[in-house]
Symmetry: C2
């Protein structure tokens, strides 16, 4: 499209050729030389679609490397595909560039995507570059595939299911706190390794793509934890028409998070209501729980049982010693 005001810059065509065409490895991307891309799901599969955006000053910091920003933008979307049991196929990228972008930044951005394309076996399918009113804004639409009719659903949680999460919860929320308050690490008596671990967990999600098959094989209810465990579990309970009992003391924490919690026990609230975990939240029939945990472990991911689905209509019940200490605010959250 024609912007209201033009600037003198290398042409969009040149930049696409230099930085983005090498990423368009799928034949359907037509080397980014057409208006649109084509895509056919593998035989017996349907497509799974997701769009998510990240913006400078909102989801990442202005001094973050564009390499990691690109990877974060892609990975928050891949995390949703993993939660649905979907195998990623490709993505479309819409890039709103601030007026002071530099070619080294763009080269970093493309390098980050190239690295992740290799890791997650996907291709850029198409894209769009515009001038941003302010700051870098990246919107990615990912496309994955599942055997037709098999997408794991957020609404699939059933009475008696065991609730699992992958990995550890709350690290990213602590990482954000550390990023915003440079005095906090000392206050919490965190060693350097714990501090850098938490900061890294905020900087870069690790989508659990390797769990997709275990999700398909075993999960009833499935979503990723991006807006905080408490809110996301409440959402799953609500849309599934059940209640969830969360055994708060069972929520898996990293060594770094446990260090922080020792110094300030009230941080438990941050851990379970903070966001950006990008872990999987799954409910599994009791009879399949062991098989599921085995499958996850074989895929290299620790999963932890944190509660049970019970009859109800969308409420979350907290149990455990810590539960009594906790004033949970499942609402009050907003994306804007």
């Amino acid at each position: 499209m024609w912007p209201i005001a033009n600037m003198t810059r290398p042409s969009e065509d040149d930049l696409i050729a230099r930085y983005f065409r090498p990423l368009a490895t799928d034949p359907g991307a037509l080397r980014l030389g057409d208006d649109c891309a084509t895509l056919t799901p593998p035989d017996g599969h349907e497509l799974v679609l997701k769009t998510d955006a990240v913006a400078e000053g909102i989801h990442f910091f202005s001094d973050d490397s564009w390499k990691f920003v690109a990877q974060k933008a892609l990975r928050v979307n891949l995390s949703d595909l993993a939660a649905k049991g979907a195998r990623p196929l490709g993505y479309l990228l819409s890039l709103a560039l601030p007026s002071d972008w530099t070619e080294p930044q763009l080269a970093d951005f493309a390098a980050g995507l190239a690295e992740d394309q290799a890791t997650y076996a996907i291709s850029l399918l198409g894209g769009d570059t515009i001038k941003s009113p302010k700051g870098l804004v990246i919107t990615i639409t990912v496309i994955g595939a599942v055997p037709t009719g098999r997408m794991a659903r957020r609404a699939g949680a059933r009475e008696g299911d065991q609730i699992f999460v992958s990995g550890t919860i709350g690290d990213s929320a602590l990482g954000l706190k550390l990023r915003l308050d440079h005095a906090l690490a000392a206050k919490l008596d965190l060693d350097a390794m714990a501090q850098s671990y938490l900061l890294d967990r905020y900087l870069l999600p690790r989508p659990r793509s390797v769990l997709a098959q275990a999700v398909l094989d075993h999960a009833n209810g499935a979503m990723d934890v991006s807006d905080g465990l408490v809110l996301d579990l409440t959402r799953m309970a609500k849309v599934s028409g059940v209640d969830a009992e969360l055994e708060i003391d069972e929520v898996p924490l990293s060594a770094a998070a446990r260090q922080a919690l020792t110094s300030d026990p009230s941080l438990v609230s941050t851990l379970v209501t903070g966001g950006d975990d990008y872990e999987l939240l799954l409910t599994v029939p009791a009879a399949r729980s062991d098989a599921f945990a085995d499958a996850a472990n074989r895929a290299g991911v620790v999963v932890t049982r944190i509660g049970t689905i019970v009859p109800g209509n969308g409420n979350l019940h907290l149990s455990g010693k810590t539960g009594d200490l906790l004033e949970i605010q499942a609402t009050g959250y907003s994306h804007f």
Copy 2:
């Protein structure tokens, strides 16, 4: 995702329920109650994908109604599908909201989308809402379908093809000029009807979705004109490995554009290099030109022959009286 800083606002879940769930009419959208949507192309079809963004102060003005802004964001994408001969199926919406958004604005936005969904027979499939660093930024990914292997290509132009455009060219570029310079209408001696026609053409694209079948049936080379006729035709010639002869006096102009041109003949350059036309640029074998024009007319769209594809390697040749007057700059254009 968890924003760096929270604000007190109605929850995202509430807003989705109120404004966007009613738009998610396709069963695959799962009432926006899941992380992802599912989609299967119709039998014998492949999917056609496009993402395009519009931003406040770049592609639209801050005082534009959010209804029209929403429609513009959707329609610029639908225009690409039409150019590929694709039937639209659905779209994903990523909405970056400025901090001062109001619910009436959001209601207008949703109403604009609802109206266009009815017009173009599509459904919202999924979306994402974030806080924008500044201004409204809307990214839409549209998904359409064509019979497998039949997508019309930008690279399809062949020697001897006749070059056609739909509708009229340059109206939107003039509309933008009028919008930026309130004294211009008087200078150009434009009557009120011409002025409002041109302003409207800038405000709201009319994607030529009704031409999709004629494109599939007859076109060799196909794209939409969004960055200016001269640049886009040059791009098509380049990617097709041919030259294009543009008979500049044949380029179809509206009555309003002709009024403007009478007052200022130098505006011809604006007309053919300005952007936001969202008309179709097609090349058709000479033997099919009449059948194509008939099919377009039956669909209610006037198409005009404006030149010929000749051997070459990506150059544009201008011919006609006006061609001599014209200093065309096919480059120097940038999206950012």
